[in-house]
């Protein structure tokens, strides 16, 4: 295995999880003390505390003042070089994470620098994205590399393309990639819909990736290692992302019950959480991504 030189002592929370020779080294939580009232500067290594708030969470509004309730944690990112194919060079060094919960739902606000909005998929054209990785069960965290056989992870992925799907009502195909395109006769010009749609094979086959009419920009999956990503039959995650001033602000939210997925994210509990970021303009996709080490997520209980 290559040298995983990005392992950072102050960001590593848990020991003992090993996969393919890679050991997530480190021992205990190295919580960094922070000054009370200083919410503007994200603190590296601090646990991500999901502040309890009453009522609906600002899931579709990354700019909501409610987010000011939460402290930001700086999460270092490094190119994924544990499993082929590698991301060769880093395009972003960290993301800032905040969290809120109302007991029924957990929401995370994730922000990172990216001055190029990549929200269409084309030939050698990839999208911006972010993902949150949680174990399905409490205890020793699974392998950082999307879990392993018998130790699954629960992943919530937001993609800029899916956000544009929603914002545009599904206008995210050839006509948007090539605005000047002139079409010859297309199947839906001359065939009845049930026949014409057969020419969108992925969509017809039910591939969730091929649907451009969607209700959420966040996909909920489980995995037991790289390459085993499996779309969950019940999609309960919500979210919203926007790019403002060369910075992505993305909210990813999931019901804390996690019915059919894993153990509930109970009030007062602490969970390992890891993140991944993709920069479309740097040809990030799939395993070619930036990843964090396991962080610590604390869900505040309501009073």
């Amino acid at each position: 295995m290559p040298d995983t030189s990005y392992t950072r002592k102050d960001a590593v929370l848990y020991g003992g999880a090993a996969v393919g020779g890679f050991v997530v080294a480190g021992a205990a939580v190295a919580a960094v003390a922070k000054k009370a009232g200083d919410k503007s500067t994200p603190v590296e290594g601090a646990p991500i505390v999901a502040r309890y708030v009453d009522g609906d969470l600002p899931v579709t509004d990354p700019q909501s003042a409610t987010w000011d309730e939460a402290d930001a944690t700086l999460v270092p990112l490094a190119p994924q070089q544990l499993v082929q194919p590698y991301l060769e060079t880093a395009g972003v060094g960290s993301l800032d994470a905040k969290a809120l919960t109302n007991g029924a739902e957990l929401a995370l606000l994730l922000e990172w620098e990216d001055d190029s909005v990549d929200d269409l998929d084309g030939i050698r054209r990839y999208h911006d994205a972010v993902a949150v990785q949680l174990p399905t069960r409490a205890g020793t965290p699974p392998a950082l590399t999307m879990g392993g056989p018998g130790t699954p992870v629960h992943v919530l992925q937001w993609r800029a393309t899916w956000q544009r799907d929603i914002d545009s009502g599904g206008n995210t195909g050839v006509d948007q990639i090539y605005p000047e395109v002139v079409h010859d006769v297309m199947p839906d010009d001359v065939l009845p819909p049930e026949t014409a749609e057969l020419y969108w094979v992925g969509r017809e086959a039910g591939n969730p990736l091929s649907q451009n009419i969607r209700s959420t920009p966040v996909e909920e999956i489980v995995a037991e290692g790289f390459g085993s990503t499996t779309h969950l039959p019940d999609q309960t995650a919500r979210g919203h992302g926007s790019n403002d001033g060369g910075r992505w602000h993305v909210v990813v939210a999931v019901p804390t019950a996690r019915t059919g997925v894993g153990e509930a994210l109970a009030p007062g509990s602490t969970w390992p959480v890891a993140f991944a970021v993709w920069l479309g303009s740097d040809e990030n996709r799939g395993a070619r991504k930036h990843i964090s080490q396991w962080q610590s997520l604390v869900l505040e209980a309501g009073s």
Binding site: P2, Q81, Q84, P85, Y86, E88, D121, G122, I123, R124, R125, Y126, T161, G173, V174, I177, V181, H183, D184, V185, M186, P187, D188, Y199, W200, V201, G202, R203, A205, G206, N207, L209, S210, N212, F226, G227, T229, R285, G286, A287
Partner: protein, 382 residues
């Protein structure tokens, strides 16, 4: 990494998965000498499979003029340049394959075409090499100064596909019943790793469904015992859809086995890349053999000699006459009494073709009757 046998290289090689040959292997034989680049095959494929929105640039089948035609641009010269100069010795490949030359962090030595590389399907069409002012009349053969020829391209349905090797999700698979390589449309997540890995550039990304697609070997036709659309649409009758056995199981009565293994007339495309591609080419007789050896491996000289002698070789000639004579897939064939016949798996005759069409000569003038009176007629050649 497992070692797998690659008969085209004459040696074992590294591949991410263990060898698992299908019970039958889809194959296509192309006689490059007969192609006129009419693109009937391309249109047959396009109008059958890829005329949907999001598939505009997809040509699962294309014909390109070599050496200056490419789709996508520079697909072969780019990977050859990345691989660097390699050597053959006595029919054994001593160089590295794209699996063996993979850089750290990659499963395959790949090359990713830019978007605009897919914008010129007809680039280089009919352009010969050399300068026109040097000569337009070339007495010697092969034509050292000016030449071009047409290369027919579909997915090679490789024994060791690079697209399969590179897909992190194992979303691409090789069918055990016929060796056709398919992208599972429900499993693909559109990472486009296959577009970088396939050296032949025959996987393509659908802009509407956001997953990759590729030549499906017309498998619904294959399952019915029929040859592919590109084969049956070919007006030059230069294609043969068939099944190929492993070399140690070659049966001389089977068309593809005979052409590839027995007579060694049809050769794989860039075998040195290590994929054991399953489309085989009868090389063009007029092209410098140095170029052809780079493209088809070390068997070029022998193949051209065999082809040039085909007119005096009734068995081979008969098989070549059966190309394009039937839509059905031939299981076996034979030549008897000047007639080439093809048979299905039950041994029943599918089609019979004479090696020489009979010729009838009528006299220029002939006798006839008009209103009961004898007359001498004159026949217009209409």
């Amino acid at each position: 990494m497992p070692q797998v046998p690659n008969w085209q290289l004459g040696r074992d090689m590294e591949y991410p998965y263990a060898a698992d040959r299908p019970s039958k292997q889809f194959t296509m034989i192309m006689d490059t000498n007969k192609c006129i680049a009419c693109q009937s095959c391309t249109i047959a494929c396009k109008s059958t499979w890829t005329w949907g929105k999001g598939q505009e640039y997809m040509l699962w089948n294309n014909i390109e003029t070599k050496p200056f035609g490419f789709y996508p641009m520079g697909w072969d010269v780019n990977i050859l340049e990345r691989l660097g100069q390699q050597t053959w010795a006595d029919g054994v490949y001593e160089g590295q394959t794209i699996f063996e030359a993979a850089p750290e962090g990659e499963r395959v030595l790949g090359w990713t075409p830019a978007e605009e590389d897919w914008s010129h399907p007809n680039i280089g069409e009919d352009e010969p090499t050399g300068n026109a002012e040097e000569t337009t009349y070339i007495p010697e053969k092969p034509h050292a100064l000016m030449w071009m020829y047409y290369l027919q391209r579909i997915c090679n349905h490789c024994t060791y596909p690079a697209c399969v090797a590179a897909c992190p999700r194992e979303a691409i698979y090789k069918r055990p019943e016929d060796g056709i390589v398919l992208v599972d449309q429900t499993r693909c997540r559109g990472y486009q790793e296959c577009l970088s890995a396939c050296p032949y550039k025959k996987t393509m990304f659908n802009l509407e469904t956001r997953v990759s697609e590729k030549c499906i070997g017309c498998y619904p036709k294959i399952e019915e015992g029929l040859q592919t659309q590109c084969t049956t649409a070919c007006i030059g009758r230069l294609r043969l859809t068939n099944f190929l056995s492993a070399p140690d199981e070659a049966d001389p009565r089977k068309p593809a086995d005979y052409l590839v293994h027995i007579r060694k007339l049809a050769l794989p495309l860039y075998p040195q890349l290590g994929l054991e591609p399953n489309v085989y080419y009868i090389p063009p007789v007029h092209v410098p053999q140095k170029y052809l050896t780079q493209m088809f491996g070390p068997g070029v000289e022998r193949a051209i000699r065999t082809y040039e002698n085909a007119k005096d070789d009734p068995e081979l000639l008969g098989l070549l006459m059966l190309f394009g004579a039937t839509e059905r897939i031939m299981d076996t064939w034979e030549v008897k009494d000047g007639v080439a016949s093809a048979y299905d798996e039950k041994g029943e005759e599918i089609v019979a073709v004479p090696l020489r069409e009979p010729t009838f000569v009528r006299p220029f003038e002939f006798a006839t009757e008009v209103a009961g009176e004898p007359m001498t007629g004159y026949r217009h050649n209409t």
